[in-house]
């Protein structure tokens, strides 16, 4: 572990005072490897290590902490700071309904998360309505309907023959009669390089008053995650990220990459397939997980 690697480096440090340049280089080398192994993006790691170098250089060896504890505390602090954000809850529209759209690459957990979100809003006293706009994937609409039924959450669908934006417009009309105040749109998984499907999202974004546009990201994602996320952000101005499948043992470095490069707040995490496997995002916990 990183702690063991540092212990080896610091065994040789006898003097109190500032760490010498060579010690710092050794520490940074180990931190760099740890972050890359955690799937933090290569370019993000580079910048991060450079800024860490200055922080560590200014640090005086403390009397109460071992050098290892001190360095880990600095790194952990820096990651936590980068991951944190003031606005990490979902905003409610002043004029209902609040409309939330979930987007992302294929298989990241959008449909599952849509139901979790609806459940979350219901627990807070709202009347959510799920909207099925995945008109492509076999049995996608059925999947949302079965999940909705299991949790007693209503699902609006119009089959596969209407366009996504028309389904949403119809859902809005329907919801006003039923007093649904939160509408959650589940969209089809798509590649950021699929122009036709990216334009479908843009069309929804331009015609529907969306309160939140949430990018659903698989926590096991590797180096390319920032590239795809950036395209989603540029296309529809994503307002938040939900990281899924954190119930596994992935270090989840993608969180640091996305927050650093895009600045979009990570609002929630998925920690399982059940509807209440859903939690707010905790920067400090994520930081320790990434460092490993």
């Amino acid at each position: 572990s990183l702690t063991d690697k540092f212990q080896t480096i610091f065994k040789k440090i006898k003097n109190k005072g500032k760490l010498n340049e060579n010690d710092i280089k050794n520490c940074l080398h180990e931190i760099r490897i740890a972050l890359l192994e955690a799937d933090v993006n290569y370019k993000v790691v580079k910048e991060f290590i450079d800024s860490l170098h200055d922080k560590i250089q200014q640090e005086k060896i403390s009397e109460s902490l071992s050098p290892t504890q001190q360095i880990i505390k600095i790194v952990n602090g820096e990651i936590t700071l980068t991951l944190g954000c003031k606005q990490n809850d979902l905003s409610i529209s002043p004029a209902p309904p609040t409309i939330i759209m979930l987007v992302g690459l294929q298989g990241t957990g959008k449909t599952t998360t849509a139901v979790k979100l609806a459940n979350y809003f219901r627990k807070k006293g709202h009347l959510p309505l799920l909207i099925a706009t995945d008109i492509y994937r076999p049995a996608a609409i059925e999947q949302l309907q079965v999940l909705g039924e299991k949790s007693n959450l209503p699902v609006f669908s119009m089959g596969k023959n209407e366009s996504a934006v028309n389904i949403v417009k119809a859902a809005i009309k329907y919801s006003s009669k039923k007093n649904n105040d939160v509408l959650i749109i589940d969209t089809a998984g798509r590649l950021h390089i699929d122009d036709k499907l990216m334009n479908e999202l843009q069309e929804i974004n331009e015609n529907i008053p969306l309160q939140e546009k949430l990018l659903i990201v698989d926590a096991m994602a590797g180096q390319d995650a920032v590239n795809s996320a950036k395209v989603f952000c540029d296309k529809i101005k994503v307002s938040g990220i939900i990281l899924t499948k954190l119930d596994g043992d992935t270090r989840g470095g993608v969180a640091l990459s996305l927050k650093k490069v895009l600045g979009v707040p990570i609002k929630f995490i998925g920690i399982g397939e059940k509807v209440d496997n859903f939690e707010p995002f905790h920067p400090e916990r994520m930081a320790s997980r990434i460092l490993g």
Binding site: E142, L191, G222, G253
Partner: protein, 279 residues
């Protein structure tokens, strides 16, 4: 990378960046970098480092090459192909694609929907089975997956089908009880069809990072993975994690899924894969 490097240090740095960004991971990258440290750079700088692209290709192809056979259908016995892997990695889709490809050679396919857990998983496979024109075992959500597999094997024998394609539920490799469920399915297969040709394919999503190594390790330890199906290669991720997996666990890649249509399935060719990675 290869024509813009001005000296050895610059080249090595760009090489490391390329390999890491392709998801090879730090240790596979370090080992490959080591091979390059040994070379005398001066004589190749004149050729704009093109020589190094070829050397890198050879190194990577060498890692990926395998004597493991492609997926072959043995006409004289029951052929069972089981798809396993973490949630959302493309198992059900590729089960349909494999059926679609094999339908052209041989009409005797039976699809087994052993994902009796996830919402509408059976319906999803049913739609693919219908598109392909392959039969599918009838079952309901909540049925015991091992029983569904048992039914699949009995049905194949009764209906004279010699290809059984089993779709399983997605599961994280860290969930011991779910991994045990897969081991139980394998025991059923070994008991009911111990003379069959068994292919256990693990789907790996090309967008995945280092955690895919742990996934391969655990699935392999539980079941013995005979091949990897690398999915979603039509995106911008390079899928280089399979190089790290081959290096560490010697599990070969057999299939590449390159899109969401039934015919977007290709046999893995190391040379093509490496060319695309270095592009």
């Amino acid at each position: 990378l290869f024509s813009n490097s001005k000296d050895k240090i610059d080249f090595l740095e760009k090489l490391e960046e390329l390999l890491i960004l392709s998801d090879l991971g730090t240790s596979a990258t370090a080992e490959i970098m080591n091979e390059f440290q040994q070379i005398n750079f001066r004589e190749y700088k004149e050729n704009n480092f093109i020589f190094f692209k070829e050397k890198l290709k050879v190194i990577l192809i060498d890692i990926l090459n395998s004597t493991a056979p492609d997926i072959k259908i043995n006409e004289n016995r029951l052929n069972i192909i089981m798809l396993v892997g973490v949630n959302g990695s493309g198992k059900t889709s590729i089960a349909g694609k494999i059926a679609y490809r094999l339908k052209n050679i041989n009409n005797d396919i039976i699809m087994v929907p052993a994902d009796t857990f996830r919402a509408a998983a059976i319906q999803q496979l049913k739609i693919l089975a219908c598109k392909v024109g392959a039969e599918m075992i009838n079952t309901k959500e909540g049925a015991d997956p091992a029983s569904v597999v048992y039914d699949g094997i009995s049905a194949a024998r009764a209906r004279k089908k010699n290809i059984v394609i089993i779709d399983t539920a997605g599961r994280l490799h860290t969930k011991t009880n779910l991994m045990n469920e897969l081991e139980k399915i394998k025991r059923v297969i070994q008991k009911e069809a111990n003379d069959c040709s068994l292919e256990i394919l693990q789907t790996i999503d090309a967008t995945m990072g280092q955690n895919a190594i742990a996934q391969a390790e655990f699935f392999n330890k539980s079941l013995g993975v005979t091949g990897i199906a690398l999915t979603k290669m039509d995106g911008t991720a390079k899928g280089g994690i399979v190089i790290a997996i081959k290096k560490e666990l010697d599990i070969p890649v057999k299939l590449i899924s390159c899109g969401e249509k039934l015919n977007n399935l290709y046999d893995f060719k190391a040379e093509k894969f490496v060319e695309a990675l270095l592009d």
